[in-house]
């Protein structure tokens, strides 16, 4: 492998506390090294920012519902140029739901190298892996969903933590999953009967368990299994006015639980797309932000992390494992609605959505995300996402960086809104003059999410020994003052190196890289009860045989990278 020296850039690395010093970064054999003599390639990064490759903790980029989003929206392909086939670059199209090729190229253009697919239905795991395998360049991992799984509901109802843990370890191994995702706990199972769970004490029909028990139980099991990532939660009541009380009730469930892992992770709960969960008011008429209340709680509770899910004010495609939410969204906008309920496990829904800056609710949603990120006290625990493509497509991250880093850019948007006064009135955004620094942006987009995922020792930073994932942006923090330049520079990385291989050279894709896929293999104490339960449940209730359920690592994964854990008690 080539050795590379990146010279003279403004290096920003929160892992080492480096805040824009002019430094060289050396790469050899796929890793960052202390120093290097006679590099094969030298990159002159003078006047440019050098950061670790970006890490996206929550994005819907691969799998069954993403592909429904692609195939049921041919019109989405007309909203942007379909980039032609060119050299090693595959043709790449789609706007809010890009193809796997475009997904990879657009993440690369933004300097991102690690992306977590945030919702994998276990029965569809093979599909998720096939798409990830075909997505070039970026390293990926997928989180299977557990919050409505019949085994989990049964074991947790009876307080059988050992059994829940043994089952979850088996499912992670079978689906080649990375961690525990929980979407609308209990609510999606209720949706199989057309119902929902809107508070943490709404019982799940028939299963007689509450979201409170599911969330607490999954957090406990997560630490029992010493997983690299914490419970990754999309709580109940998403997207409804007044839901912030449900959110606070849910976050409080983390109190008293201690992280237990060897991966440097300090949180026990990651709450995703918190923007969608921080709404006040009782209807859309008196809808307002409760971002401050929710962020105050997170600021004072170090065992909780969050990502925002910024609304970008675009036409997009919403897709979530929260089936009932999509049904209700469709009742509001009357566009097309797809839904898939998955036997014994979970469900999902998909609806196109237009976030218009002239609709005041959208304007307030936009404000809440920015408000929360600007009120956050520790950006190692608050991450930049759009819940792609739910609140907006991921390729808008550079625009969000611009809004976070420039009060002027935020005011410019507010000033073009038809309901500016009303929007300003419903959140505190207008009164916040904070402008985030590149250092804080690097925390939100690299160091922070990498640590929360338990990947902090290998990605998200520039420490010698770490995987050489490095982005060089044509942005000079000493001389640049135009906020537009932030958006442009962070969507046009000049160089991108992934595992030591040059992917972008002078802005051109020169390699489809050598992506890898992480998964977690936890050894647990042999558990005959759970083995028997799995065997019987497959025979009686599933429509695939147990022996045809497990994802074949060698057929369906490119460069599988297994994280081994011993959780034998």
């Amino acid at each position: 492998m080539t050795s590379i020296l990146i010279k003279n850039g403004f290096v920003i690395d929160p892992v080492q506390g480096i805040r824009g010093d002019k430094m060289d970064i050396a790469i050899n054999d796929g890793k960052i090294v202390k120093n290097l003599s006679n590099p094969d390639k030298t990159i002159d990064a003078s006047g440019m920012v050098v950061m670790a490759g970006g890490v996206d903790i929550h994005s819907h980029v691969a799998g069954a519902k993403v592909n429904v989003g692609r195939t049921f929206r041919p019109e989405d392909k007309l909203q942007s140029t379909y980039a032609p086939y060119h050299g090693i670059r595959h043709m790449a199209g789609g706007t809010s739901v890009p193809t796997v090729f475009k997904t990879a190229y657009m993440y690369a253009d933004m300097g991102y190298t690690t992306v977590i697919e945030a919702a994998m239905p276990p029965l569809y795991a093979r599909h998720t892996h096939e798409e990830m395998r075909d997505t070039p360049i970026i390293d990926e991992a997928a989180l299977p969903m557990f919050g409505n799984n019949w085994f989990v509901l049964d074991y947790l109802k009876r307080g059988e933590m050992d059994n829940a843990a043994a089952y979850i370890a088996w499912l992670l191994r079978s689906t080649k999953g990375y961690g525990i995702k929980c979407v609308n706990p209990g609510g999606t199972e209720a949706w199989a009967w057309g119902l929902n769970c809107l508070s943490i004490d709404d019982p799940v029909p028939y299963f007689d368990i509450t979201p409170r028990q599911i969330v607490s139980g999954l957090m406990e099991v997560n630490e029992y299994l010493h997983l690299p990532h914490s419970l990754h939660l999309h709580s109940n009541n998403l997207g409804n006015p007044g839901n912030y009380t449900t959110t606070l009730d849910t976050l409080k469930l983390s109190e008293g639980i201690k992280p237990n892992n060897n991966f440097g992770r300090e949180q026990v709960l990651h709450h995703t797309h918190i923007q969608f969960h921080s709404y006040g008011g009782t209807t859309w008429a008196d809808f307002e932000s409760k971002g401050k209340e929710v962020m105050d709680y997170i600021n004072s509770h170090p065992a909780v992390t969050c990502d925002i899910g910024f609304v970008t004010l675009d036409e997009t495609t919403t897709m979530t494992g929260d089936g009932p939410f999509e049904y209700h969204l469709n009742k509001l906008n009357h566009l097309k609605w797809a839904n898939t309920d998955v036997e014994l496990e979970c469900g999902s829904g998909i609806v196109p959505y237009v976030y218009s800056k002239d609709v005041y609710v959208c304007g307030v949603q936009w404000s809440i995300g920015l408000e929360m990120a600007l009120l956050a006290k520790d950006h190692m625990r608050c991450y930049l996402t759009t819940d792609h493509p739910n609140a907006g497509p991921f390729w808008r991250y550079p625009r969000i960086m611009k809004w976070l880093m420039s009060e002027k850019a935020r005011n410019d948007v507010l000033a073009t809104m038809k309901n500016e006064d009303k929007v300003r009135d419903r959140s505190t955004l207008g009164s916040i003059d904070r402008e985030l620094t590149l250092y804080e942006i690097a925390q939100m987009t690299r160091a922070g999410p990498a640590k929360a995922l338990g990947l902090g020792s290998s990605v998200g930073g520039l420490v010698p020994g770490m995987q050489a994932d490095i982005a060089v942006y044509p942005y000079n923090p000493e001389t640049e003052s135009d906020p537009e330049k932030i958006e442009w520079a962070f969507s046009h990385a000049k160089y991108l190196i992934k595992s030591g291989e040059v992917i972008l050279n002078d802005g051109e894709v020169v390699s489809n890289g050598n992506k890898k896929t992480y998964w977690v293999d936890v050894k647990t104490t042999p558990n005959r009860q759970v083995e028997r339960d799995i065997d019987q449940t497959f025979v009686k209730y599933y429509t695939v045989n147990k022996n045809n359920y497990e994802v074949n690592e060698h057929e369906f994964m490119k460069n599988p990278c297994v994280v081994q854990i011993d959780a034998i008690q």
Binding site: P74, E75, D76, L78
Partner: protein, 266 residues
Amino acid sequence: MNTVTITIKKQPDLFLEADCFTPDALAGKKADEIAELPVFIGKTVEKIGDYFTVSGETGPTADETRLVFNGDFTKVKYIGARMSTGEVVLNGDADMYVGSWMSGGKITVNGSVGHFAATAMSGGELNITGNAGNYLGAAYRGDWRGMSKGKITVAGNVGSDCATFMTGGEIEIGGNVDVHVMTHADGGKVIIHGNAKSRLGGQATRGEIYLFGTVDVMMPGYVKAGETELTIGGTKAVFTIYDGDQGERHPTRKGLPIYAKLYLKK
């Protein structure tokens, strides 16, 4: 207004895609420059001059440019597609996508056109003296935003799926129309002087259909709501009004549902 005349001199072996046959793309160019512009046959790129003779002069802007096409264009797609202004006159028949996505200007076809003419039209005028194929003034696949503005006139017959997902504008058909007119429409107007087959206004929430001739099978979700005398397309007549599609969700105004209207000449 300056005129450029494009005459077909050789029929392509397969079908030819001429995305640049619009006043917007050709304005300000000389005839010999136009002859050098690319057209596509499958994956091959060829020149306009290989298949067409180009004469005359364009205006400095699209606004002042008229394109006249002479000959048999039944193997040529995209004439006037995405045009925003200026004028196109086609003396002959054309293939698919005539005036598709057009937002302004005027197209006159002295002949017939193929399928997908005026897809998602958002302005301007399209006049056809012959017939039009399927999907006239319809939305692109998957889009809920069909024809929104502008006027289409067809003297002859029109194929199926006319005005799907229409939200505004007007289509006037001199002859007969095949199945599915204004399916899913949420506005706009279609006038049919000839006969219709079936499925008028299926799943429509708003919009108006005027039918002078007969319809083979009515949609069950249209309910009689009175009679009225109207002058439509220059003809005065008494029409029976139907409200529908009752099977579909309907917006309300002042607490009352708004329906799509079907006017059948008595």
